[in-house]
Structures are given as C-alpha cells and as structure tokens.
Point group: C2
Chain length 497, copies 2
C-alpha cells in the first residue's frame, strides 16, 4: 500500500510539474517572449498539455486510485494523503470523460476564436465573431454531454471552476444581490470628478509604491517578482516562485489596485502548505475562493480607510506635486467613487457584480439554446441598461469586451461575483478572531491578518471542495447578506458624509 | 512510408519541444526566477528531462528509424528528410546506450558537484571539492564503457559535443597551435594600461550601444531579447525566440564584447532553416561550429579595425566624457591588448586558446587515470606557468575557476579553441566571395556578410556532421594555419605599429 501510494504520488507529481511548466510558459509568453516566438510556443504548449493529459488519464493511475481506497479510508479525512487520493480520483474521473479528440477541438476552437475576437473587437464587428462563438457553444454542449445529466446543463461548466456548486445556488445568491445592488447604486452613484486623480503619476514611483505596500503584505524578493503586462494576472511555478503582473499609466493611479489584486492571488498560492508542493492539491481551492482573496486584498483592505490612514502620507510623499493639498478623506472618497461604466475590469466595487450577473444570465441562456447568438448583442444592451442604467453605445464596450467567450470560457464569470460575496464572509469571520484588525492595518501591521488567512484558508490548498473549505473557514455556506451589508455600510457612509 | 515518416517526425517534434522547453526553463531559472524557486524548478527539470528521454529512446522510434531506411536511401543525402532520419538514428543509437540509472547518477552527481564547487571556489578549498571530482570522473568512465571501444576513451566524451571528431585530431591541431601561440605571446604581450578603459561607463548607455550594434547585425525586437545575468549565455526556444544574456559593469567596457559573443550564437540559431523548426536538426551543428560564430562576431568582426572605424565615433558620442580625447587607434589597441592572465573567460584573443589546451591535456590524463586528482592542482599550476608565463597564486584563479568539471562536463573545453580555429577558416573562405567585406563593415553594412553565413552555414542546422558541415562551408577539414596567420598578422601589426 505504501509503495502504491508512493507510485501514485510520483505520477501525480510529474503531471503537476508539467502543469506548472505550462503555467510558466504562459507567463513567459505573455510577459517576456519576443512576439515572433508565438507559433512555436503554441506547439510547445500543445505538446506539454497532451503529455500531461495522457499521463494523468493513464489506466494505471485509475488502478492505483482504486487500490488505495482502503488506505484512504484508514486515514483521517483531513489528512494530506487521504485528500490527495480523494481529489485525484475526482479529477481523474472527470478527465477520463472527455475524449482526446473533443479536447483537441476545444483547444483549437479556443485559439482560433481568440484570434477572431481580437480582430472583431478592434473592428467593433460582432458579426465576424459570431460563427466562432457558435462553434465554441456547440463544442461546449458536446462537452456537457460527456458527463452524467445534471439539474441544468450549466452545472457541468460551473463545476470546472467551482467543483460541486450548482447553477441554482448561484442563481439564488445573484437573485438576492441584484435588487440590492441596483437599489444601492441608485442611492450612491455620483458623477463627481476629482481633477487630482489624473496625476501625472510617474510610473516608476507607482511601481515603488506598489512594491512598498505588497512587501509589507508578504511579497518577499526571494520568492516573488512583478512585471508589467497588458492584461494583468498572477502565475506561480511553485509556492516559492510567484509571478505577479500589473500595468500602469501616468494618468491613472487606480492601476495600483491591480497590483494589490494580483498580490492577493499570489498570497493565496504562496500560503499553500509546503507539504502539498508538487501535488495536485498545491493551488488555491477554486476560482471563487481565489477571487475572494484578490478582492479582499484589493478592496476590503486596499480601498479601506484604515489602509489609507497608514499609506496615504507615504503616497503623498511619493507624489507631492499631485497630492500635497489633497486631504486623506478626499483621496479615500476618490478611490471609492461609485459610477456605472461599460467595462467590467474597470468597474468600481459596487457596480462590479452587476456586470457579472448580466453575463451569468446570458451564458445560461446561450448554453441552453434559449438565446441565439444573433440576438445576443440586443439582449446584452437591453439588460445592461436595465441593471446599470446607462445605454451601451457599441459592441466594443458591450458584448465584445471580454476575452472569455472567445476561448470557450463559459462558467467562469460567476466566480468573480461569488468571490466578492465570499471575501466579506471571510473578512467578518476573521474580525471575530482579530477584533482590532482595523487598528493593526491603520498601523501598517499586516502580520496577524495574513497569518490568520494563511492558517485558516491558504494552507488548505485544494484538499477540500469549495463548500468544505468555506465551511472550515467561516462555518457556513455561501451567503450574500454580509456582502450587501458591507457595501451598504461603506458606500452609504460615503454618500451621506 | 509517408505515414511512418510523419509519425517519426511527430515523435521527434514532441521530444524537440520538450528539449526547447528545458532550454527556456534554464533561461528563466538563470535570468528571471526568484531564487527560492530553485528546489521545485530542479524537480520540474528532472521530470521534463526524464519524459523527453523516455519518449526518445522508445522502441517504436527505433522501429520507425529502421523501417525508414529505404525511404532515406531513396532521397538526396542533403535533403531535410534524409538528414532527419540519419541524424535521429545516430542520436537514438547513442541515447539507447546509456542506462537510465547511470543517466540519473550523472545528473545527480553533476548537481551535487556543482554545489560543492561553488562553496569550494568561494573558500579556495580544492580538497573539499576533490571527492566530487573523483565521483564525476568515475561516472564518466562508466559512461565511456557504455560505448564500443574507441582509439582513446576521451573520444567518447568529445563525440557528445563534436560528433565524429577524434581526440588525435584535436591533439594534432593543438600541437601545432601551442608553440605558435607561446611564441606569439612572447613577442606581443604588453603590460601597458589605458587609463580611459576604466570609464566610468554608464550601464544603460552600454546597453543602448550594444543593442545599436547587434540590431545592425540582425537582432530584431520581434524575435530576440537581451537581459543581464552573472554568467552570460544564449538560449533559444525557437528560431524566432532568441534570448541573449549579457553582463555589464561601470568600470569595464569590454563586457560589451560579451553581448557581441552571445549575439553570434544567437545569429546562428536564428539562421537555421525554418524548414527544420521543431525537429532535432533545428540547432547549430556542434559546439565548435557554434563557438566559431560567437568568436567570429565577437573577435574577428567586433575587435576588428573596420568595425571600429564605423562604430567608434558612435561610441564616443555615447561616452564623450571618457572618449572625447581618445583616438580610434588608441581605442582599437586598448581592446586588443595581449596580456597573460589567470581567468579563461577574461582572456584576450591571443592567449585564450592556451587556457584551453591546458585543460584538454589535463582532462585526457584524468580520464585515462594517468593523473590523480590529488596531483591536479600541481599539474595545473606547473603547466599554466609553462604556457602562459605567470605563476598561479591560488586555486580559486587556477584549477577551481571553471564550472565545467563540477558538473561532469569533460570533453567540452577543446571546442572553445577549435571554434577560434574554425572561425578564421570560415572568415577566409567568406572573403573569397565577399572581397570587400572590410569596406562593408567599415560602412556599417552587415547585410551581405550575415547573408553569406546564413546561406552557407546557419541554414544547414544539424543536418550534417561537423566535418561534413565544415567541408561544405570551407571545402576542407579543420586546419590551424589560417588562425595562426590571422593572429600573427593582427597582433604582429599591433606590436610593431
């Protein structure tokens, strides 16, 4: 049994190595690679993806997983070893369901769809993108057919990002969020402009400031790096090899929050227990939980008043020519303006989730075939105006804005809004244990806060399902009320102050 | 047959992808990776190396290579397809000779030996390194025993870097070089110092200048990048993804030549025929031919008078505070000083090959067991003084200076000096076709020169053996006379001017 477990771990370690290499190749391609390297890089990624898949779905892995049932049952459910067998069995079962030909078609359609989308968005030409969207949808329906029937076909797609979560649960959360957010925004949205927010913000000094913040949060030079890119993301090749990417612009200080957001993702990956290194459990638990951390560090911490009580004098010191005459309260208010806008990734904390709810609804209808891609722009525009109160002027800032659908990424969007919801649940639970966390943050002290998150959440990695993980951290399932209360309290106070 | 060839090519393409990914991971580790990522990276490299090896030595590859003999024989020897089968058969035969256990032992001993060497060099403590050197030598003897007996055991090691070349041939070349170089250095070595060479040389402007040179040589922003590192090297993930590394220091302009050297390697890789992309033929032919190109661009071109006729006014423009009052001739002389010194990588063009000949002689004696590692430092020091005329003060600048032996890299050193020899053979042949190449270079025109090299050498990749390749380029085998004549002419003129 010991030998069989060692052999399983060896095989899974190898597959995990390949997955991490893929992640690094993607980082390199996006951040470092000379652009003409793209064609060969695509082949290299295909090769490594195919080998990783072949090695994982190997019959022998299945045999080992079966043989190890008695060993797994002899162990504590929470132990690393039992979790490894349990999670690997679930992953293996899913991976075996999808024929390699369909995987290859999905990959190819994603890559071609992505190219078509880049052009279509540049040209504001939805019609040219529509055939690729149809193709991706058709392949996704075939993908869904690989699995046992579920309550709703969308469940299968959601499961890839949020294992075990049902569409109906998400709908319940969003049905509660939607009216709450629409009404809140009606009350607190503002058209005020803050001239000082246009800078100029020297980009080198922006970077220095961002680094000074995230080094206090846990970015250690020996385990992290941060580089500029166009569409920021976080990647990691190991728990001690974290790559943040960010962007900056001399007329926009709010891209600072991008660095804080990606740092949140990085802190999660960095905090996974070293005992899980080189196993499939070595990553954040799910998209929602990952996003809960990027959002917590970006918004709850990074756009909070205690944070700026400590850092604002430092920011003023970096940019005296812009901020010398600007009070902390005015700056705090400026980085927390609520104003409906078209682009999801630029949306403020209060409007963001409505962008997601819109996409979640449309995705379900597209997958179910209740909405044709021919009618999609119209449906988008009508619903956008209904939820956010502003008319969409063109498809570039409307239905064509996001990359996800071009690559077949259906089922991912909801996790962004669920991340907001969960971030506040975790934040409230954490404050029970650390009642003076606001004072600590206002004193620039992030040690106990980060340590609480590491111990209660990050260290667990992917040992448990998202539901199990959330229950271990906060004691309950997903619940939108704390998030709504948080927004009402924060933005209500700002609106009436 | 077509199907079998396609299958062979698919399999070899996959193995080549993995090899290129390894090269990129090495680049990343050296140039980009946060240092704490090293432990996991080592595992990832081991995984990908093992998978690449397993896939290459697969029985099915051997079966395809045999089945394709008639197809190979039906084709022109020089065709891409015949060359692919021929070279892959040779590589496969060699790879199958070495048991995986021995490969693993070699890799492990190399990694541990490297760590021991870093410490031993820092402490100037040869005794602590000696057991690792013995271990590497013992494993190398076992490696040699995997192959059919050759004239000399060292032939097997040489073959890994210079396929088909015999130790006796190298000895013949070096036996001619050694007295010629010793006598030349006696005549032209100089102790003169040039105060202006100490700068200060602003590193950003050094980089700008180096880029302005190598962009003229063929460095295109869409296919290349250049980054700083401690021990510079060139890596490529594809013919359109070339990574140069270089170093700089504010008190030393000669590190500019490092960039030119690595650019020479990069131009070779960039010039391999696109028809060979993603095949085992897609790389420079051998260590010697590769080094012939780095040396040609660095020394024959980059330390030549025509080059500086064009670029010196530009360098003066970049560094007026250092060079305004320095004549071209004085600068040209300064970058061509001959002065025996201890460190191989800092050696000038005339003394460099003697450092290599010393190592080649000692390597053969160590492998044959005629020299014990206990007596190695003494042998090194005695011979160093004999060849270069200066006594070695300690092992740090003596026998411990190079990384190669710590990782079991025996058989590589001679290719550095052979590269010097071959570079002048190619240069002389090229001048027959381009008689006014000096004038072109003096006019900053590198197009016809680069194109000649691309067509005659680079495009061939690894299709032919080094001997076949050299014969195709210059019409003869390896010959030290042109190199000696070149050195005598260049440095003789400098000494008597």
């Amino acid at each position: 049994m010991r030998a069989e477990f060692a052999e399983l771990k060896r095989r899974l370690g190898e597959v995990h190595d390949l997955a991490k290499i893929q992640e690094l190749l993607f980082w390199d391609q996006t951040v470092m690679m000379p652009p003409a390297g793209a064609a060969v890089r695509a082949e290299q990624l295909t090769t490594i993806d195919r080998i990783a898949h072949e090695r994982f779905v190997d019959d022998e892995v299945g045999r080992l997983l079966e043989a190890l049932r008695p060993y797994e049952e002899s162990l504590d459910y929470d132990s690393d070893d039992a979790s490894l067998v349990r999670v690997a069995r679930r992953d293996w079962g899913k991976a075996r369901r999808v024929p390699p030909e369909l995987s290859a078609e999905l990959t190819k359609a994603a890559s071609e769809g992505n190219e078509a989308w880049v052009q279509a968005r540049a040209d504001d030409d939805y019609a040219s993108f529509r055939p690729w969207l149809d193709r991706n949808l058709e392949l996704k329906r075939r993908y869904i057919d690989c699995f046992d029937p579920t309550d709703e076909p969308y469940d299968v797609l959601l499961d890839d990002f949020e294992p075990g979560m049902k569409t109906a649960e998400v709908r319940e959360v969003f049905d509660r969020l939607k009216p709450g957010l629409v009404s809140l925004i009606g009350e607190v949205a503002s058209d005020e402009e803050d001239a000082f927010m246009r800078g100029p913000w020297d980009e080198e000094r922006q970077r220095d400031f961002a680094l000074s913040v995230i080094e206090r949060w846990g970015f250690e030079r020996e385990s992290w790096r941060m580089d500029p890119t166009v569409h920021p993301f976080e990647a990691s090749a190991g728990t001690r090899d974290i790559r943040l990417t960010t962007r900056s612009s001399p007329d926009d200080i709010t891209s600072l929050f991008t660095a804080l957001h990606e740092c949140g993702h990085g802190l999660y990956e960095r905090g996974v227990s070293p005992s899980l290194e080189r196993t499939p459990l070595c990553s954040g638990c799910s998209s929602t939980l990952h996003e809960s951390q990027s959002r917590m560090w970006e918004n709850i911490v990074g756009r909070g008043r205690p944070f700026w009580e400590f850092f604002y004098p430092r920011l003023q010191g970096q940019f005296p020519e812009v901020l010398a005459a600007v009070e902390l309260e005015d700056f705090y208010r400026a980085v927390n303006r609520v104003r409906p806008s078209y682009i999801r990734v630029d949306a403020d904390e209060a409007t963001y989730s409505l962008h997601i709810i819109l996409r979640f609804e449309l995705e379900q209808e597209l997958i179910a075939g209740r909405l044709s891609t021919a009618d999609l722009p119209e449906a988008w525009n009508a619903r956008f105006e209904e939820y956010l109160g502003i008319p969409v002027p063109n498809n570039r800032v409307g239905v064509l804005q996001d990359v996800h659908w071009s690559g077949g990424g259906f089922g991912y969007f909801p996790t962004y809004a669920l991340g907001n919801v969960v971030s506040v649940q975790i934040w409230e639970r954490l404050r029970e244990d650390l009642p003076d966390v606001d004072d600590q943050i206002a004193a620039g002290e992030f040690g106990p806060f980060g340590e609480w998150l590491r111990t209660h959440l990050y260290a667990l990695g992917r040992k448990f399902t998202p539901r199990e993980t959330l229950e271990r951290v906060v004691g309950t399932g997903i619940d939108p009320e704390p998030y709504l209360r948080y927004l009402e309290r924060k933005f209500g106070a700002l609106a009436t102050a």
